[in-house]
């Protein structure tokens, strides 16, 4: 793929990725800006046809913006599961139903005749999967929005060998009905002490589900098997551990408030030395978190059946086996850290002190972040991937650029990315939305430029513009069974019906076969 043309300066791109908020939103005057949505100048009058890989929020928001900005654009969205919405369905906690309201918008997008949902089709080279290269001849552009499908590991002794250690990603996927983890069946009955390594909002979600009264969850769309396991849980004490302090931690106000306000659950006092006495110089979001932490919970520890704590300045060293039940986790070792240059500096680093503390743990979760992976086929097609950062190298607006240190590089024609695979696995719906919009704006801008190359400009060129219609035959030959938006609506209805009998919003299918059985 050596015909790519538009130059991108990597130095600028890097600074873009770091400080994207400095990029002007539109570089032309308002009246003309609206003008550019009228019609494409170049190309042969055939509608813009685009494939989006992944059906999470970034995929949907990118589609939405592209369909608004490019007249007649047709978008095909590929999803490996028969069901759409990605982390809105499988990541957002069941007790946060309002956050899932964005599905209404996605629904609206999907109902458009210019949108095709191609569910239940994985991109890959194995039998039953669709190779990425089969898409190229039929689309003007491809946008990767498949998110972060793996999680980061700690890489410390015991992590892979002892029983009772779970990844938060798996646990969250399990209670949300993600087919990949439907058989996780975490054992919460081995003891009262649980440790969660990591202090982001996912860690707090896990803590909340371990501490919350199960009856509160019964009306949500949490899976039935999760309710069963949680109701048998013996966990009484949850430690949420991080290497640094409250100033540096990733959790946000709402999630902390929810945990503090849980009924019959107490928060162990937070180490005061890590919270500045005078909070007036701390930026507002962090200040409000710290005020909450200082105030603590109104439930008394002595009277509360369950409690939790935020344990700061501890760096995980090992998972240790239980002397009575070798092979099961019994405790964890941490090394104390101090913060350099000081606990109130946002960018402070944790420096290990050599002092080791042991913490009892009959159950442990690692929750130190998600990670994206390259799709099978990237290498063959020369699509770059930065394994170190776990993202697709891009110019900050979603144009994919080679993985190199050179000063000027070419953007790959017709290749874009959006969402977590573009900027890394952090942020809420709002940030994912604005990020997806920036990719969509870039695509629209490029398409309206007469001489910006797309997939049809590759030497092997000749884009048919047929989209899914062109891919279909190959897909069927490889044994792929496509789930359409109409099909998903049937699955959706069946899930809601299953939920109704139990007084829940919905009862999700947790196996792909069960989802497909609805359609037979």
């Amino acid at each position: 793929m050596n015909v790519s043309r538009p130059w991108v300066c990597t130095q600028c791109a890097r600074s873009l990725i770091r400080r994207v908020n400095l990029v002007p939103r539109a570089t032309f005057p308002p009246a003309q800006r609206r003008g550019y949505t009228i019609q494409p100048i170049a190309h042969d009058g055939r509608p813009f046809r685009m494939a989006i890989i992944g059906s999470g929020p970034s995929g949907f928001y990118t589609s939405y913006k592209i369909m608004s900005n490019i007249e007649n654009a047709v978008v095909d969205m590929y999803e490996q599961l028969p069901v759409p919405f990605g982390l809105v369905r499988f990541g957002v906690a069941p007790d946060h139903p309002k956050v899932k309201n964005c599905q209404e918008k996605f629904q609206e997008v999907a109902e458009s005749p210019r949108f095709n949902f191609v569910g239940n089709i994985s991109i890959g080279d194995r039998p039953g999967e669709l190779p990425l290269k089969t898409l190229l001849p039929h689309y003007d552009a491809i946008c990767f929005a498949y998110g972060a499908s793996k999680d980061r590991a700690l890489g410390i002794p015991g992590e892979d060998t002892l029983k009772g250690i779970y990844s938060a990603r798996a646990f969250v996927g399990w209670y949300n009905g993600l087919p990949e983890y439907s058989d996780l069946a975490p054992d919460l009955t081995q003891g009262e002490e649980a440790v969660i390594v990591g202090q982001g909002n996912v860690a707090l979600d896990v803590a909340r589900f371990l501490l919350e009264d199960v009856d509160v969850l019964r009306k949500t769309d949490i899976t039935e098997h999760a309710l069963e396991v949680l109701s048998k849980s013996r966990v009484k004490r949850v430690r949420v551990v991080g290497r640094r302090g409250p100033r540096q931690a990733a959790f946000t106000t709402k999630e902390i408030r929810e945990l503090i306000q849980l009924r019959n659950v107490a928060l162990n006092p937070v180490d005061d030395s890590l919270i500045p006495e005078d909070l007036s110089h701390v930026p507002r979001p962090r200040r409000r978190v710290m005020e909450l932490l200082r105030k603590g919970s109104s439930t008394l520890i002595s009277k509360a059946p369950k409690s939790w704590s935020l344990d700061f300045c501890l760096s995980p060293k090992s998972f240790n086996s239980n002397p009575q039940f070798p092979g099961r986790i019994g405790s964890m070792s941490f090394e104390k850290t101090i913060l350099d240059p000081g606990p109130f500096e946002r960018e402070a680093k944790a420096v290990e002190t050599g002092e080791i503390v042991d913490v009892p743990a009959s159950l442990a979760f690692r929750s130190i972040g998600y990670k994206s992976e390259a799709l099978p086929g990237f290498e063959k097609l020369n699509i770059p991937f930065n394994n170190k950062q776990g993202l697709i190298p891009n110019d900050g607006e979603g144009r994919i650029i080679p993985n190199t240190d050179e000063r000027f590089v070419f953007a790959l024609p017709g290749m874009y990315c959006a969402g977590w695979v573009k900027k890394g696995p952090t942020g809420v719906i709002a940030s994912t939305m604005t990020d997806a919009f920036s990719t969509a704006d870039a695509i629209a801008k490029d398409w309206h430029l007469a001489d910006w190359p797309f997939l049809g400009d590759l030497p092997e060129g000749n884009v048919s513009g047929l989209g899914w219609e062109g891919v279909k035959a190959t897909a069927e030959k490889r044994g792929c069974r496509r789930v359409s938006w109409e099909d998903w609506k049937k699955i959706d209805a069946a899930e809601q019906e299953r939920g109704q009998t139990k007084g829940k919003v919905r009862e999700k299918f947790t196996k792909i076969d069960d989802m497909l059985a609805v359609l037979d």
């Binding site: 003008g35 209404e104 990733a250 900050g396 719906i429 940030s431 001489d451 910006w452």
Partner: protein, 206 residues
């Protein structure tokens, strides 16, 4: 930065011209896909208007053009569920002004009780409401222009403030659009949409 990008574009064009030269000959056109028509077209356009850069060409107003395009027009469903509000009764109009990201002002007559998110969506002002106005996201963040008016708005709840903590460009007079209901006291309210809301995360401003 802008200068660099323009340079990049020009470089790209130079390069492009070199490579795409052969496509101008009929023989090559027929051997290539439909797409090469587009390229020929482009080069014709270049010949006709040699002085214009590609970005300028893009900006020149179309002859057929109505400039306004409804942002949700792709949808097959009508805009019933989103942004439907009743027009105010004569004599009871309240006015609110939105200042959008480009600095354009939109003064709108509204009825008592309408919230800013619904108003914005009904009038095609670029404001998203990812959580459908349920105070569970920060996409309808607005900045109230005057502090005096800000003080007249009923105080934000903890829930709203928790969401504002995640908003980009948070100011002392920030609110969520979905939580501001128009009342006679707020008549003449002026709000700004945060000028840049891209690619930000909680950690960027905590």
């Amino acid at each position: 930065m802008l200068a660099t990008r323009t340079t990049i574009r020009s470089l790209a064009r130079l390069q492009k011209n070199c490579i795409s030269k052969p496509t101008a000959t009929p023989a090559t056109v027929s051997s290539r896909s439909l797409y090469s028509d587009a390229i020929t077209y482009t080069s014709t356009a270049n010949r006709l208007r040699p002085g214009l850069s590609s970005s300028q060409r893009m900006l020149s107003p179309r002859l057929n053009g109505s400039f306004r395009i409804a942002s949700r027009e792709f949808s097959a469903t009508t805009a019933v569920s989103h942004g439907h509000i009743d027009p105010p009764k004569p004599g009871e109009e309240l006015y609110v002004t939105f200042i959008d990201k480009e600095g354009d002002e939109h003064k709108i007559a509204v009825s008592k009780g309408d919230n800013l998110l619904t108003i914005a969506q009904a009038h095609d002002i670029e404001m998203e409401g990812a959580c459908e106005g349920s105070c569970a996201c920060s996409t309808c963040h607005v900045i109230v222009e005057s502090e005096d008016t800000f003080d007249k708005i009923p105080e934000a709840t903890d829930d709203e403030n928790d969401m504002l903590d995640l908003a980009f460009g948070l100011t002392e007079t920030s609110r969520l659009g979905c939580q501001i209901e128009m009342t006679p006291e707020l008549n003449g309210l002026r709000v700004r949409l945060p000028s840049n809301t891209r690619n930000l995360q909680a950690k960027d401003f905590s």
